[in-house]
Point group: C2
Amino acid sequence: MTKITDMIGIKYPIFQGGMAWVADHHIAAAVSNAGGLGIIGCGGADENWIRDQIHKCRELTDKPFGVNVMLMNPRAPQIAEVLAEEKVAVVTTGAGSAGKFIPMWKEAGIIVVPVVPSVAMAKKMEKDGADAVIAEGTESGGHVGELTTMCLVPQVIDAVSIPVIAAGGIADGRGVAAAFAMGAEAVQCGTVFCASEEVNIHQNYKDMIIKAKDRSTQVTGRKAGAPVRQIKNQLTKKFQELEDRNASFEEIESLGVGALRRAVVDGDLDNGTFMAGQIAGMITEIKPAKQIIEEMFEQANKILSAAGPVC
Amino acid sequence: MTKITDMIGIKYPIFQGGMAWVADHHIAAAVSNAGGLGIIGCGGADENWIRDQIHKCRELTDKPFGVNVMLMNPRAPQIAEVLAEEKVAVVTTGAGSAGKFIPMWKEAGIIVVPVVPSVAMAKKMEKDGADAVIAEGTESGGHVGELTTMCLVPQVIDAVSIPVIAAGGIADGRGVAAAFAMGAEAVQCGTVFCASEEVNIHQNYKDMIIKAKDRSTQVTGRKAGAPVRQIKNQLTKKFQELEDRNASFEEIESLGVGALRRAVVDGDLDNGTFMAGQIAGMITEIKPAKQIIEEMFEQANKILSAAGPVC
C-alpha cells in the first residue's frame, strides 16, 4: 500500500501514461482491470470524443480510471467540464498549468494529478490544490522537459508535501524499485504499454518499440521550444535537416502536422512520429497489460525485499 | 561489500569523478582517505603533470586511488605509459575507446574502468578487457551522452557481465539506493564533490553549485557533436547565440578555449564554463568529502534496509 494506491483505491501503484492518439479506452480499461490506473489521453481531441471514450471504458471496467488533458488543446475548457460532469476518478494534465480547472474538478470529487517537468511547476500545482504530481523525466516519450527522472524526482519530493509519482525510463521492476528508493509513491509508464497486446495502435508502431535499441530515440523541436522524443526514422532526419538550416517555425511545424496519426493509425514508418521513451531499447516483447504489470511488481518487490546495506 | 569494493579494496562503493581541472590530488586523496575511490582527472594535461599529481596523492594517502584519462587528449599515449609505470590502482577513461591501452594497463595490474554512454560502447569495452564500466547518464556535468542514468544503467547491465557503476544524477543516499535497486555495484559522483571542502577550485565555482536550482544547467555544443553540461551564465548565452545562428565550429570552439580554466582557477562568473550536473539543484552545502560520503551511505543503507514490497 502506498499513499497513491490508498488515495485512488487501486492495487498496483502504477499509472499508464495518457498518451495522445495511443491511449484510448482499450488500454485504459486493460490497465485498470489489471489493478493499475488506466488513463485515456485526450491529446487534441474534442469533448465529444472523450465523453464517448469514458462511456466505452466504463463498459469494459468497473475499476477507477483516469483521463489526461493536454492543456494546450483549444478545447481544454470544454473537456474540463465534461470530466467534471462525468466525475472520472483521476485527471492528469500536461503541457501547461492546470490551476484554473482544479477547483471545478475538486468540486466533482476528482483526484487531480498534474505532470510536471520542474520543481517550480510542482510547487505551483501543489499550491493550486493538486492531490499529487507526476514528475516526468526527459527520457520519456513524446513532449518532454529537460530534467531527467533521477534528478527531477528527488528535487520535486524535497519541494512539495503531496505524493510524487515518478515517470520516465521505467519499464521493469528495476525502474520501479529505483523510483521507490528515491521516495516516489507510484510510477507512470507509457512506452511499455505501447508494447501491450491491448493498446489500439498500428502493429508497425509496436514493432518499432520492440526493435528499438538504447540509442534509437531522438528529441526534435528543442530549438522551436517544443521538444518531442520519438524513434529515429526518415521523419526525424527531415526535422533535423530543417532545424540544422534554421528553417522557420511554420515550416518545422507543418512537417509535424498529422505525423502522430500517421504513426498510430497508418503505421507509416517513414512519415509518422513514433513517440517513445529511451527505455524502448529494453522492451523486447509484446505482452498483455496484466502480465506487464504483474511481472514488473513481482520483480520490484523481490528487489526491494532483498535489499539491504551496501557497505 | 559489492563486487566493486571487493575488486578494488575500498570501503564505500563510490568513485569520485575524474573531472578535468577540478579533480587534482587534493580531492582524490580526501575521497580515498574517506574510504571511497578518489580519482585524479588528467583532462588536457600532459604526462609530467599527472606523474607529479600521482606522487603528491601518494603523500596524502596510502589508500587506492585512480586516474581518469581523457582519450581525446593528444598526450593520451604518453599518459597511458606513465599510469602503467606508476601502477595506479584504477584507471577510468572517457571521450573515446580505451581498447588499445587496456593490455598495457592490465599487464601493470591496473583495474580498468571506462566511462560509457551507450550499450554498444559498454559491450566493446567488455570485449577489450575492461574490468567494469561506468554507465554515465546525460544528467552528468561536463561532456555527456544522450541516455539518462535510469535508461542507460539497466540496459548496460543487461548487455555485459562485468560490474556496472552508475553515474549521473547521484548526490545523496536516495540516488545511491536507486542505483543499487537498478543493479549497479557502485556509483560515481562528480558534482557533489565540487561542493566539498577539499576540492581545489575557486570559491565562486563552489558557490555556483550551491546556488544552482533544478533547471540551472544547460547542454551546449549538441549541434557541434560535443555536448557539454554546465551552469547557465553569460557564456552559455553566447554559446546559444552562436548555435542559433549556425556559427562555424571554429567560432564556437574558440569561445570555449580556456573557459574551464577561467571557471576553476579564476572563478570568472561570466566567461568561465562551470560544468555541473542537473543534480546541482539538490546540493545546498559545502562539506568535507568524508562527511559527504558517510551521510550518503548512511541514508542509502537506511533506505535499502527499510525497503520492502510496495503492493
